[in-house]
């Protein structure tokens, strides 16, 4: 599904990713952990095509296509989704308009007609219930004045409505209490199937108690320095990241 080979990438001219390789097959859940500033979010942004984030060398193939050549919206249409670590506030554009525009765009690419307003409203209400977000939030500006946790749930709701093939969840669990964490985990688990894959970026092993990953990777200094199964997360929780970096060095 996703194959990243020896990726070097820079942010505003500064090299952040230094030869990162990662393969994700359909249905797999990969957790990426690593110290602050190691390049986890950068990886997500490069994959989503954020302006200023540039691949210098290496390759990224997604569902048989050269991902790096595509426009951001084309990547989304192919089935790539990035839940932002810091979701963007867009006052004046209602969450409902935003969500419907997203879903209709995806439907258009699949050759399906736009949803009528009532059907969509129902879908959105149901989704908001699952992520435990008051439906009143649908009328507010996108993320406008949402608390940290509300923003994260809004990201999760978008993922559920868009039904991507690969979802990168960048610290969707950060800043959540245990109940909210459970909500996020349930949301992700309910979307898991043999064709859909996830990359979970997290600092906390506790998320992985609820969403069992197939692989755990440690990202440090812009590349993956260690990979393992879920037991690696437990080890990291106990010993921190230093030992991994030391072993590599």
């Amino acid at each position: 599904m996703l194959s990243i080979k020896d990726l070097h990438a820079s942010v505003d001219g500064k090299t952040i990713l230094n030869g990162l390789s990662l393969t994700v097959n359909p249905g797999e859940v990969h957790a990426i952990m690593g110290p602050n500033g190691s390049g986890k979010s950068t990886l997500g942004h490069v994959l989503a095509g954020r302006p200023g984030y540039e691949a210098i060398s290496g390759s990224v193939e997604f569902l048989g296509q050269n991902l790096l050549e595509l426009e951001t919206e084309e990547r989304a249409h192919l089935g790539l989704f990035l839940a932002f670590q810091y979701p963007v506030e867009i006052p004046g554009v209602s969450n409902m308009e935003f969500l419907k525009a997203s879903v209709d765009a995806a439907r258009k690419e699949r050759g399906e007609p736009a949803l009528d307003a009532v059907t969509f409203m129902k879908m959105a209400r149901e989704a908001s219930k699952i992520v435990d977000l008051d439906p009143a939030f649908l009328k507010r500006g996108v993320n406008e004045g949402f608390s940290g946790g509300e923003k994260k749930r809004n990201e999760l709701m978008q993922m559920m409505l868009l039904e991507p093939k690969l979802a990168i969840m960048d610290e969707t669990d950060s800043g959540l209490d245990i109940d909210a964490l459970q909500v996020v985990a349930n949301g992700v688990n309910s979307m898991r199937n043999k064709d859909r894959s996830f990359i979970l970026v997290t600092h906390y092993q506790r998320l992985l108690n609820f969403i069992e990953p197939d692989f755990v990777h440690v990202l440090s200094g812009g590349k993956i320095v260690r990979s393992g199964d879920k037991s690696l997360a437990l080890e990291l929780e106990e010993r921190g990241y230093a030992w991994v970096a030391d072993e590599v060095a």
Binding site: E73, A76, V88, I90, G92, V93, G141
Partner: protein, 429 residues
């Protein structure tokens, strides 16, 4: 001042009611003594009057609304004026607001009009207000009785028709909001395709103690239909004015909005949006006179300037020496959607009192790249995302309009401004 409105001024002088004649002659004297504004005139530095014709005639009284055109109905009570002339056929009104055309005023009503007309104006400073006096063949009094709450808004539509020769319309509205009254008035300006009308519109809002007035003024004149005018408000003790202004562009629009506080405890919310495109030009000059203590102003204007259009926003707040405990906030934000679009935004604060809270900010920016990217990561195509963000920028102020039917009317109208392609605006309306 040349030929400009000569014909109209002569016609008005002949046809105005006798009790107004001194207002006309005074206005004419002031107008003729004024200098035609040019780039060296401080108040007109960034607005050229070149789009005006050399000469305008008095409007024909027989003009009709074209058969294929319907005017928006934003309230149950609607008064329609075609080229400045009242159309009974298109109007309906059973409001508790006393509506009097100057031409029809009784002696008693004439007295009331004379008592208040021009009291909110400074015709020396506003020469086009002097011109409005000079051409005051007719006007409209909206008298809101004291102690009355009027739920149903009153909508006035000033329609300008298409005509082979250029003509002018003199719009004058005098609103007297009685003590403890509450009402809402919408003034809307619409032009027919091909209209070359020049409208000189002046509205005076005179709020008595504790009156609450919502006032919305929507300028939808297009292309060669030009407008120079203004709204001048006097706010007595504890009164409250909620004003919303909108201007879509045409060759030239200049509006002076003046608020004078004359009693303590009064408040004004003054919001507005302007959206010139093509080669259009819109100029808003606002001036808030805090002449007494304990009043507050919240002012926010936003503009989206596209193509080669130009906009001017000049926001003056003058806090007089006695106006202690004033609170005034002014924000002006502009979005330029092309390299050739221009805006001149200038907040002008003059503060002579020491115990006041005053804040202002003016920004000029392009669409936020991060927001644009965020929408695109959700699959929204770039062109649609740009339209959504432009709309959102303006919609923040539209959302604050209390009147739902106005909001619902404006949204599709504004969305169309950003793209003629319905595919790009379908999620906004």
């Amino acid at each position: 001042m040349g030929e400009f409105l000569q014909h109209s001024l002569d016609t008005a002088a002949k046809q105005a009611p006798a009790w107004l004649s001194d207002v006309l002659s005074n206005g004419r004297r002031r107008w003729e003594a004024s200098r035609w504004p040019d780039r060296k005139t401080e108040q007109w530095k960034y607005t050229s009057l070149q789009a005006l014709q050399q000469e305008y005639h008095a409007a024909d009284t027989s003009a009709q609304l074209p058969d294929d055109m319907t005017l928006p109905q934003l309230a149950g009570n609607r008064l329609v004026f075609v080229d400045g002339n009242y159309s009974a056929e298109l109007s309906h009104c059973d409001s508790h607001i006393d509506v009097v055309r100057f031409q029809d005023a009784s002696a008693e009503q004439a007295e009331r009009i004379r008592e208040h007309l021009g009291t909110a104006l400074n015709g020396e400073q506003h020469i086009f207000a002097a011109l409005n006096d000079a051409a005051l063949q007719d006007g409209l009094l909206l008298d809101i009785p004291a102690d009355t709450i009027i739920d149903e808004p009153l909508q006035l539509v000033w329609f300008s028709s298409q005509c082979s020769a250029a003509f002018n319309i003199n719009q004058r509205t005098l609103v007297l909001a009685g003590k403890h009254s509450r009402a809402e008035i919408i003034e809307q300006f619409i032009s027919a395709d091909g209209s070359q009308a020049f409208t000189n519109g002046i509205t005076e809002l005179i709020l008595a103690d504790n009156a609450a007035l919502a006032y919305l003024r929507l300028h939808e004149e297009r292309r060669q239909a030009t407008h120079i005018g203004g709204v001048h408000a006097l706010l007595a003790r504890d009164s409250r004015l909620d004003a919303f202004h909108m201007a879509l562009g045409s060759d030239l629009k200049r509006l002076d909005l003046v608020v004078q506080y004359v009693g303590p405890g009064a408040h004004c919310d003054l919001n507005g949006i302007y959206l010139p495109r093509g080669k259009e030009h819109i100029d808003y000059h606002t001036c808030i006179e805090h002449a007494v203590a304990h009043c507050s102003t919240d002012e926010a204007f936003r503009g989206i300037i596209s193509d080669e259009a130009t906009a001017v926003f000049n926001g003056r707040i003058h806090i007089h020496e006695n106006a202690q405990k004033t609170r005034a906030e002014l924000s002006n934000k502009n979005l330029l959607t092309s390299d050739q679009a221009t805006v001149n935004s200038k907040p002008e604060l003059e503060i002579y009192a020491d115990d006041v809270q005053c804040a202002h900010g003016a920004t000029v920016a392009q669409l936020d790249e991060t927001s644009l990217h965020y929408l695109r990561t959700r699959g929204v195509p770039k062109d649609e995302a740009e339209v959504m963000l432009s709309f959102g920028f303006i919609n923040e102020l539209v959302d604050n309009i209390g009147n739902e039917s106005v909001r619902n009317y404006l949204r599709p109208l504004l969305a169309q401004q950003f793209s003629a392609d319905p595919d790009l605006t379908r999620h906004l309306v």
